[in-house]
Symmetry: C2
Subunit: 184 residues, 2 copies
Amino acid sequence: MTTNENKFREAALIAKEFGVELEWERRSYTEIQADSLEEIVGFGVEEVCREIGDPCFAEDAGLFIDALNGFPGPYSKFVFLTIGNRGILKLMEGVENRLAEFRSAVAFCSPGGGPVVFSASVRGKITHEPRGTGGFGFDPIFEVNGRTFAEMSTREKNLLSHRGAAIRKFLLWFKGERGQDMGE
Amino acid sequence: MTTNENKFREAALIAKEFGVELEWERRSYTEIQADSLEEIVGFGVEEVCREIGDPCFAEDAGLFIDALNGFPGPYSKFVFLTIGNRGILKLMEGVENRLAEFRSAVAFCSPGGGPVVFSASVRGKITHEPRGTGGFGFDPIFEVNGRTFAEMSTREKNLLSHRGAAIRKFLLWFKGERGQDMGE
């Protein structure tokens, strides 16, 4: 579940490749403050699963900038909503090391079980100005192979992105589990 | 409880004025991601109270900068540890509106009861450079009446500060409650 329509659209497109249709549980969950996305999303999905009594998964992502000691990291959404891309670019003024990574953690939980978490990341660079109109959040200032995520179509971004990779890991596992279940 | 020795020292000094001796439960608690400190600290203190089975209180504070839409707000600790005072001053370069406030929320919980929360805030300004060696965190860049919190003694800071005010509110209530309990 998520409240972010962009995220859902990206995830649904990937799930389609796996022949899985996603249902959008548009709700938020308790997000804890932690340095790792895995902890945050694991905690949240377990809570929602307990409440709704159905299997569900959630994803959390963040931008970790090397020269800023991992800022904005797990608090990317809040930082985006307050200081935005302009704030990040201001913090990076005069900073030579532009290296950064987007990280994603997907957690799945079914009733009675604990969360299973899948992570992925993608290395890139912080640009000197925003470029592109696609994507959302920090996409216009995060560049991989010369183009920002906002300069890519959702399909292209999914092939390269942290979220695409983490969701694929999860779906591969999920299809394997379900296959096993049905075989038994 | 807190893991921050500076906070404990400030709180203990105030409690002394009320004839209350504090015991330091040096532990952390689950901090949720929320826009309000009240929610964060209420959630945490309830959890710890359930675990230890004793009355306890916790405090959470944050710096909310007007021109930055409330950044760093509830995530002040993480922001301090990553981009620090230098990062905040860089974000504020060329910004005329320097107004900001420190907010504090104190939550108390006793076994079987829900959290009771007390809040306070203090308005001030973000300086153009760090000043003073006292206090901790953003104290060197937060100015009230011409002096930063880091330029004050703990006692002076407590008289003016968000934390001082919130803890006093809590202790006044606490002494009243206890008085009532004993009278009944």
